[in-house]
């Protein structure tokens, strides 16, 4: 902070050169396809939380509008096909492509209706991203915490990866050590096992679930 204006001005040519270089490398590779860094993943999560709070958590929103807003955000920032494949585990392979597509849609709706409802009870909690790092080949882990004083902050870990189209997408959320994807996998696999591994039985149960939740949330 001790730089005088003249010092800054004398550095201007260098700064410009660096900027030019940076922009030329950016232009050389197609925008989205550049390899993402863990800092990108951090920004991505911070942005996502900000967007959710400013759009979905708004007060006086009709339930259907809240659901729609959350759905847009959710579909754009979560890798639903990837998560669905993980959640269905071995049953993903036995499912037909139509069943897989049905599952993705229904799974998405259960999540949307559940989370949109939670944002309805938003009481000013904020999400602070604390750290990020690499997780495997194309993956990142973003550490964050939900602050709502005077309550103890709640640690939330985000698993993020770079999808085939080059954009970052969430693949799992781990709250206080509990992975959403693992919990759902366990839940759905037990259900499937109890029904002789019939994917259609799962789809029917999910359809009923979505109807129930939709009736309860009014949209």
């Amino acid at each position: 902070m001790k730089h005088t204006l003249s010092q800054l001005l004398s550095r201007l040519p260098q700064t410009l050169a660096v900027l030019l270089l940076a922009s030329s490398t950016l232009l050389a590779s197609p925008a989205g396809a550049a390899d993402k860094s863990s800092d990108d993943a951090k920004d991505f999560i911070q942005n996502l939380a900000q967007q959710a709070i400013s759009t979905v958590a708004q007060r006086d929103l009709a339930d259907s509008e809240r659901n729609d807003r959350f759905r847009r955000l959710f579909v754009a920032s979560f890798d639903l096909p990837q998560i669905s494949q993980f959640v269905l585990a071995r049953y993903w392979r036995t499912a037909t492509p139509e069943q897989q597509q049905d599952f993705i849609k229904l799974f998405q709706e259960v999540q949307v209706l559940n989370w949109a409802q939670r944002f309805k009870d938003y009481k000013g909690e904020n999400l602070a991203v604390t750290a990020s790092g690499k997780d495997g080949d194309k993956g990142f882990v973003v550490e964050s915490q939900i602050n709502h004083p005077p309550a103890q902050p709640m640690p939330v870990q985000w698993k993020v990866h770079q999808a085939d189209d080059g954009t970052l997408k969430v693949t799992d959320i781990v709250v206080e050590g509990v992975s959403m994807a693992i919990t759902q996998r366990s839940d759905y696999n037990s259900m499937l096992q109890g029904n002789g591994g019939k994917v259609d039985a799962l789809l029917t149960a999910l359809r009923t679930k979505v109807d129930q939740m939709r009736a309860a949330s009014g949209g």
Binding site: N114, T130, P149, G177, S179
Partner: protein, 257 residues
């Protein structure tokens, strides 16, 4: 002391053996490796019995605890309920301290002691958790966790009547834990066992009230509530044990302004 424990252990082991006979899950056929791996991973050989106890607990919650928690929530405002929870948590710190030390976690023990001193004094006898906002959050430590730090596996998944999701190791830990609390001994010696009983009941109510909405969420969104809760509680427990093993005391960074 050791006599009490061994008697307890024998009776628990006997009970488990008896119950094991009553309800064993059928392992999947060996020619389905995916199913076998899953069966081992969920580690719930007593699933039929556990589901029965789970249903019994659900009945108990629906007809006893949930209505009671709703009344509690209606009668006592949030601020008051937080004071009750803080007070009860402070009463638990001596047992947490003992476990921290037995786990060899000196730093965590120091934190627990410091929290006890701060909250008992500045926190007016523990009704105000002043340590957490100062950046000294608490952690749990119990006998089951200590046994895990010492290398004991979970045994197998077990749903305890009233207490809910647990496992063989933590169930035994719970039995031992009840013999560890200096406050209970003091109260028993002074013919004030009713205080311990009251404390137990209010602790249950307070803990249940805090968890009730989360449980309702899981129930609302899951297809097989039993399995969802089994997975959830086992993951949560693993995370707690990992923290205890690594001696990590601050679950998160202190709140930044």
């Amino acid at each position: 002391m050791s006599k009490i424990n061994s008697t307890k252990l024998v009776s628990i082991a006997g009970l488990v053996a008896l119950l094991a006979l009553a309800g064993c899950a059928t392992p999947p056929p060996a020619d389905d490796p995916d199913a076998v791996a899953e069966f081992q991973q969920i580690n719930d050989p007593l699933e039929p019995m556990n589901r029965d106890i789970f249903d019994f607990n659900e009945w108990l919650y629906d007809n006893g605890l949930t209505p009671a928690a709703k009344v509690y929530r209606y009668v006592v405002p949030r601020f008051g309920r937080d004071r009750v929870a803080d007070f009860l948590a402070n009463l638990k710190t001596p047992v947490i301290f003992i476990n921290d030390i037995f786990q060899g976690n000196v730093t965590r023990g120091g934190v627990t002691l410091l929290r006890f001193v701060l909250n008992s004094t500045f926190g007016v006898g523990g009704i105000m958790d002043v340590a957490t906002p100062m950046g000294i959050p608490g952690h749990i430590a119990d006998v089951g966790e200590t046994l895990a730090v010492w290398g004991a596996g979970e045994g197998f998944y077990l749903v305890l009547p009233l207490f809910g999701p647990s496992n063989l190791r933590d169930g035994i830990g719970l039995g031992i834990e009840s013999t560890l609390d200096p406050l209970s001994y003091y109260l028993a010696d002074n013919h004030m066992r009713w205080v311990s009983t009251t404390r137990f009941l209010i602790s249950g109510l307070s803990a249940y009230e805090a968890y009730m909405d989360n449980l309702e969420d899981v129930k609302r969104t899951s297809l097989d509530y039993y399995s969802a809760l089994r997975s959830l509680s086992r993951q949560r427990r693993d995370a707690q044990i990992q923290d205890a093993k690594s001696g990590k005391w601050a679950p998160v960074d202190p709140v930044k302004k």
